[in-house]
């Protein structure tokens, strides 16, 4: 039985990838997790410069969900390349870098810095972060801007470019196709949904920034739906994301058409969740009499609509 998958020319030993912003830069967890069992790791989002992020409180729990406004606090791409990337080299897992920018130029510039860095398996373009004032989600909700930024980044690298889509749109397939047309090799689906939680006693938002991004099991049905729509609408591979906590959750995305999945919020509860998910996916494949994981990708039997 094999769990290996290939995405955008990248072979992953299994379809489980740690989602951006929920696994630090990887090294924070080296004492907690055997990083080598992961198919891949997406780093926290990186801009050209270091960034302070949003004022606290930055996270608040909602029913089966986590609302966050971290605001892409980070060390900047240069520090990442020089100080962190070398320490990741000894782990046998694909390192994907989540690239951010306030402008198209910045996205391209961050990508170029990474181009010469050894050990970067690919780029995940974050055009969908709801917690920044410029850039971020503004790109991901507009097909023309999406096309523009993907095209520039495409020019800046020979590495696989994965575009991370925002769910805060009327029709995600329009954005997905814009990214595909502009040269994306794969699509990550989805980032967080824009939400607001209010502290009724103080009548202020519970987050320092105001609104935040909703993640976790609460959003899974929305994420599975969008993954399915995007997989139908494009020819490039899709990586499913949203509320995955166990093997059955991951399998929903794979059956809907994702070639791999990312695990986000669940890392906070248990960064070792990968082990049990892999074991349970294997058991599932056995039960279903399927030898390769890839056989179940997109195998959803959707009812014919009369």
């Amino acid at each position: 039985m094999t769990l290996a998958v290939t995405i955008a020319g990248l072979r992953l030993k299994n379809p489980l990838i740690a989602a951006s912003g929920t696994f630090g830069y990887g090294i924070e967890l080296e004492n907690f997790v055997d990083l080598g069992i992961l198919g891949g790791i997406v780093t926290k989002g990186l801009f050209l410069k270091p960034r302070a992020g949003c004022p606290p409180p930055r996270i608040v729990e909602t029913p089966s969900g986590l609302l966050n406004a971290i605001g892409l606090q980070g060390v900047g791409v240069a520090s990442f390349v020089h100080e962190i990337l070398p320490r990741l080299a000894r782990f046998d897992t694909a390192i994907l870098v989540n690239v951010c920018g306030d402008t198209v130029d910045e996205y391209a510039a961050v990508t170029r810095v990474l181009e010469d860095a050894p050990g970067v398996a690919g780029i995940e373009l974050n055009i969908s972060c709801p917690n920044v004032k410029q850039g971020g989600m503004a790109f991901g909700v507009d097909p023309l801007l999406t096309h523009a930024v993907v095209k520039e980044v495409r020019k800046a690298t020979r590495r696989p470019v994965i575009v991370k889509l925002s769910p805060n749109v009327t029709d995600i397939t329009v954005i997905a196709r814009a990214a595909e047309d502009a040269g994306a090799d794969a699509l990550s689906c989805i980032n967080t949904l824009l939400g607001l939680a209010i502290d009724v006693e103080t009548r202020r938002p519970r987050l320092g920034f105001g609104t935040g991004g909703l993640s976790g099991p609460a959003i899974r049905p929305i994420a599975v739906r969008m993954t399915w729509q995007v997989a139908q609408a494009t020819r490039i591979p899709v990586i499913g994301i949203g509320g995955i906590c166990c093997a059955a959750d991951a399998l929903e995305f794979l059956i809907a058409g994702a070639s791999a999945v990312q695990i986000g919020t669940a890392n906070f509860v248990d960064p070792n969740v990968y082990q049990s998910i892999l074991r349970d996916i294997e058991r599932y494949l056995q039960r279903q009499g399927v030898a390769r994981l890839t056989e179940i990708v997109g195998s959803l039997r959707y009812p014919r609509q009369q």
Partner: protein, 301 residues
């Protein structure tokens, strides 16, 4: 209550500069004892050899009842006591919401996911001095372990313990039994000094001439007051802060506190889970306390 507080290992010796001072481990820890003080307060004793052996005062554990990897997240609790021989540690828990409720009602033998020990501990005083330990509400918890270690090291710590009303001072008997020199304060005057514990502290400092160091844990406004007092009097003070924590491991960046070290040009957000929860009070940038959301919301259970 939980056996002798503080059959401890070394506390700052091994690697004083490291951020995470010891390797945390993640176990299903069984509840072995529970001591309830009314409905709201509980001392819970869990089996967990690594926490029992490696914890230093001020460190914490992330707990979650049951085995689920779904939300809700784990919750942070200060380590109140350890017993290296029995391989147990204890936490002092105030029930405020669904997770503290569920943890407080675990049956003996049931397990919680337990990750720890985590975070930066209190540091031993730089020079011989009188340690004053200031605890507000459940913030008293880490001060028990700290007090025990200080005494072992021949200090004579004095404990200031405050709450809104007498019922909040649930650990006062334990502190008495342990023989701590104790100052109690309640806002409503139902026990001890009437007023804020920081007012009691100031009164004491006004009449005390010994070199003193402060160690505090409690609600944000209390810590801010301690920081002001320390700054005004030029006393060293360490405070343990209590922000929202998502992971306890430095990955969510949810628990940040604005800080500024002496050599830094401008403030920086630092993670309370890895670079804290204990900070020098002079290094914390005390804001209008947005970091402590109202606790009164009726949560949807």
């Amino acid at each position: 209550m939980t056996g002798v507080v503080g059959r401890l290992v070394e506390w700052t010796a091994p690697c004083p500069t490291a951020i995470i001072q010891s390797m945390p481990s993640d176990l299903d820890a069984a509840l072995v004892e529970r001591h309830s003080i009314g409905d709201a307060f509980h001392v819970l004793v869990f089996e967990h050899g690594d926490v029992a052996r490696n914890s230093r005062p001020g460190q914490f554990v992330m707990l979650k009842p049951g085995r689920s990897t779904a939300l809700p997240l784990r919750r942070p609790f200060s380590i109140m006591d350890v017993d290296a021989e029995r391989e147990t540690f204890s936490v002092f828990m105030k029930v405020v919401g669904a997770q503290t409720q569920a943890l407080a009602h675990l049956r003996i033998g049931q397990t919680a996911r337990c990750l720890g020990p985590l975070g930066r501990s209190f540091q031993s005083p730089q020079s011989p001095s009188l340690p004053l330990l200031i605890g507000g509400g459940f913030g008293i918890a880490p001060l028990l372990l700290l007090g025990a270690v200080l005494r072992r090291d021949a200090y004579e710590p004095r404990v200031f313990y405050g709450g809104r009303t007498i019922a909040d001072l649930a650990l006062r008997r334990t502190l008495e039994d342990l023989g701590f020199s104790l100052v109690l304060a309640t806002e409503d005057g139902s026990l001890g000094f009437k007023g804020l514990i920081t007012a009691a502290l100031e009164e004491h400092l006004d009449s005390c001439t010994l070199p003193t160091s402060l160690f505090a844990c409690g609600p944000g406004p209390m810590l801010a007051a301690v920081a002001r007092i320390a700054a005004r009097r030029g006393l060293p003070a360490q405070v343990s802060v209590d922000p929202w924590m998502g992971c306890g491991m430095g990955t969510c960046l949810g628990c940040v506190v604005p800080t500024r070290k002496a050599n830094e040009e401008r403030p920086r957000y630092r993670c309370a889970c890895t670079e804290g929860p204990v900070f020098e009070s002079s290094e914390v940038v005390w804001t209008d306390d947005r970091a402590s959301p109202s606790r009164a919301r009726e949560t949807t259970p």
